[in-house]
């Protein structure tokens, strides 16, 4: 007699098989398979006995009291989200890069056809350098505020980080666009820093709006663990220096990339 496979037994126990009747019939006549099913059942029953903290009918009211102060005035976004100002900030930032790069390309049209491509690329890179530099500055501010946030006062149980969270969410959209642009431009080290920054911003944006002291500390530790503040500061400075030296924006050298990686 062919015995049932483990997959068939589990499927039968969890109600997922299409051959229920055939399996049930087999089980009535096969002691070995029946024992196997009993052993599986024993494990699942033991798991069913794990304690489950109960929440009474008043729990819903408690949840409402917790979240009500954190709800925005109006619900729902859907397609309307595209008309929100914060979206336009990110879209505007990207549009500024594209238009800036285009205009810069036109202005720097070569008089001498000897080195046209290099000059256009340099100007485009400068536009990107300015935009990313500004973006890193804003990100640094948000992360600094969170890293230096003090735990709530004794009477207060939680600290509200909704303002920082909103800013992190706004920066996330712009960060994605900059990271992709930087990646295309071939600066892998800067793209890596933006990638790290994105993870941290995502972490902040996905954290609850109100944090207990322990959770705030945990968030601060996560920011610290990425070393992102230091990286953002180093790269931000580097970009500022690049801005100060006109027409000298070199392609990222290995040594520069190495420095950032070290950071």
């Amino acid at each position: 007699m062919k015995h049932l496979t483990e997959e068939e037994l589990i499927g039968y126990r969890e109600g997922e098989t299409t051959q229920r009747e055939a399996i049930a019939e087999h089980l009535t006549s096969c002691t070995a398979c029946r024992t196997e099913l009993d052993r599986l059942e024993a494990v699942l029953s033991a798991l069913d006995n794990l304690p489950m903290p109960e929440r009474g009918p008043e729990y819903g009211r408690a949840v409402w009291q917790q979240i009500a102060p954190r709800l925005p005035e109006k619900a729902g976004r859907g397609w309307r989200a595209w008309f929100e100002p914060r979206r336009w900030v990110a879209i505007g930032a990207m549009a500024a890069i594209v238009i800036g790069a285009f205009v810069a390309g036109r202005w720097s049209k070569p008089k001498d056809s000897g080195a046209p491509a290099a000059s256009v690329a340099q100007v485009r890179e400068r536009v990107l350098v300015v935009a990313v530099g500004e973006h890193l500055g804003k990100s640094e501010m948000v992360l600094m505020e969170l890293a230096n946030a003090t735990p709530p006062a004794p009477g207060q149980k939680q600290i509200n980080i909704s303002a920082e969270q909103q800013r992190a969410e706004d920066l996330l959209d712009a960060n994605r666009l900059y990271r992709e642009t930087v990646q295309q431009s071939g600066d892998a080290a800067l793209a890596d820093v933006l990638d790290d920054l994105e993870r941290v911003l995502l972490d902040v944006a996905h954290s609850p709006q109100e944090l207990t002291p322990a959770k705030l500390e945990s968030l601060q530790k996560r920011i610290e663990a990425h070393g992102i503040l230091f990286k953002v500061r180093v790269v931000g400075k580097e970009l500022q220096e690049k801005q100060k030296t006109p027409n000298s924006a070199p392609a990222p050298t290995e040594s520069k990339a190495g420095e950032r990686n070290k950071a």
């Binding site: 059942e41 024993a42 033991a46 798991l47 819903g60 409402w64 925005p72 729902g76 309307r80």
Partner: protein
């Protein structure tokens, strides 16, 4: 939520109640979208317990579960415009909670991996959520539950990947249909089935040596042995 049918109970009454609740949910959603913020309260009060149960099973921790519930409602409120009024709000909120719980579990795993020091482990053991959870089961049951076995079970559940744990919780404890599990895991139904299978298989391998004959006897005494959990899919 798509649930497997159960054999007992008055199905018609239950369906009528569910349909009335859905209708009332739809009205509450419309009113909330029209700017009546308090209408959302009805939805929160109605679905909180269900979301807590799911979140606790998934995270294994009361504090995390409460955070998941609150965050799920906040996200639902913020994105209510994306919710089609013909859909079931309970199912939608349930998915949001499951997805957030998955994110939370992954985040926690990363944190845990980062701080795998002996002192951190000792601290974790001290704060075993099962010990902290208020237990309202009758005393003989509680005595029967060997604390070592409980720890093993908790460890075995922790060993599952977040997808496996989600699949197991949704299927075994919450009785969700495979289609719904697949929607949460963003996978195909056959992949979701495999994930359920893998999770049960892993739990069995990890726990069988500790459950042994006593568990089998308990299961038989409860009359649960070969009774399938629901209809086929």
């Amino acid at each position: 939520m798509i649930r497997m049918s159960e054999s007992a109970g008055s199905t018609q009454d239950r369906e009528a109640l569910q349909s009335a609740a859905r209708e009332s949910d739809a009205i509450a959603v419309e009113r909330t979208l029209a700017g009546e913020r308090d209408a959302f309260r009805v939805l929160v009060e109605r679905h909180s317990q269900q979301l807590f149960r799911l979140a606790y099973r998934m995270t294994g921790n009361e504090q995390d579960a409460e955070e998941v519930v609150q965050e799920a409602f906040l996200r639902a409120y913020r994105n209510l415009g994306q919710f089609g009024s013909r859909a079931n709000f309970g199912t939608w909120a349930y998915r949001i909670a499951a997805n957030y719980a998955i994110d939370r579990m992954r985040q926690k795993r990363t944190e845990d991996a980062r701080r795998q020091t002996p002192s951190a482990l000792a601290e974790e053991q001290e704060q075993d959520p099962l010990d902290l959870a208020p237990d309202e089961r009758p005393t003989p049951d509680r005595q029967a539950m060997n604390s070592e076995l409980r720890k093993k079970m908790e460890e075995a559940l922790k060993e599952l990947s977040s997808s496996e744990r989600t699949a197991f919780v949704m299927r075994h404890w919450e009785g969700c249909a495979i289609e719904e599990i697949a929607a949460v895991l963003k996978s195909t139904t056959s992949a979701a089935k495999n994930t359920v299978f893998r999770s049960v298989q892993k739990l069995r391998r990890a726990l069988e040596p500790y459950v042994g004959a006593r568990g089998a006897l308990q299961a038989k005494a409860a009359g649960a042995a070969p009774e399938p959990r629901g209809t086929e899919l």
